[in-house]
């Protein structure tokens, strides 16, 4: 590969941390879930880059697994959001502070 592996890994890291910040800062649960998808995809990018660098398609299989898990997680997450906010006044994560200790 003409582009160094390091570049892809750094790119993946940047995207991952954008996702992390998104999860913490945003209050709309849908956008939080989208940021989580960003994080998944960042991991995928790193996996594909490594897989290409080492010419080993086990990485591709793992990406396949990650995509599946991400899909399942997005589905369930959205289902939870629907369940929680179906009758709520506003769609705000700060309002679901039932775990207040």
């Amino acid at each position: 590969m003409t582009v160094e592996l390091t570049n892809y890994v750094m790119l993946s890291a940047v995207m991952f941390f954008i996702g992390v910040v998104g999860v913490i800062v945003r209050r709309n649960p849908l956008i939080v879930l989208m940021a989580i998808e960003l994080m998944f995809n960042a991991a995928n990018l790193a996996l594909v880059a490594f897989s290409r660098a080492w010419v080993n398609n086990a990485g591709h299989i793992f990406v396949f697994l990650v995509v599946t898990v991400a899909a399942a997680e997005a589905a369930i997450g959205l289902a939870i959001v629907v369940a929680v906010f179906r009758r709520a006044k506003n769609v705000d994560l700060d309002e679901v502070a039932g775990m207040h200790g």
């Binding site: 003409t2 582009v3 390091t6 570049n7 750094m10 890291a13 940047v14 995207m15 941390f17 954008i18 992390v20 910040v21 913490i24 800062v25 209050r27 709309n28 849908l30 956008i31 989208m34 940021a35 998808e37 960003l38 995809n41 995928n44 990018l45 594909v48 490594f50 897989s51 290409r52 660098a53 080492w54 080993n56 398609n57 086990a58 591709h60 299989i61 793992f62 396949f64 697994l65 995509v67 599946t68 898990v69 991400a70 899909a71 399942a72 997005a74 589905a75 369930i76 959205l78 289902a79 939870i80 959001v81 629907v82 369940a83 179906r86 009758r87 006044k89 769609v91 705000d92 700060d94």
Partner: protein
Amino acid sequence: MTAFYVLAILLIASAVFTVTQKSPVYSVVGLLTNFLVLAALYFTLNAEFLGIIQIVVYSGAILMLFVFVIALLSSGIGPFSEGPNRLPRVAIPAVLATLVAFGFLAFGVLHTPLAPTTPHAASLGPVGTANVFGSVADFGVALFTVQLLPFEVTAFILMVAVIGVVLLAGDASPQKTRGSHEKSALKSAGREPIVKAGR
């Protein structure tokens, strides 16, 4: 080389766009762009099958799911409103923590040799050729022989996900928990409960 940098900038820009928009619909569009750029990146990395999968599954299915949920939540209630911000200025520690982590990660990555020692059997070839590394055949062979277990596990995960979604978001309590004005609003919006398709 330039392709990489162009794609990289697009990737980061779309990610930032996704995270920073007020309206979820705009975020969805940003996310879509992100996925497409990512698929392009996969193609530059010889992972053609995964690129297609990325487009079909991620932007074709998951994003649609997001869109539908946005529609579901915003109908009959009004545009998305938010309550008071109970954790103001949380961006500062968040960004600080991520910058620290990123710094250490960069340090670790740059100081660790990332090259492999064992070569692999499959051969590299240009994208589109049959049976090269990253092609459908290569992926399929691996998936159904060597990596059969992850395949079965994915099936299981998906089944669990379906059951979970049905349980969580299905209509647990019928009409009596809904007010009459809500009912009429829902009816007028043409909205049907997800599970009771026969009504």
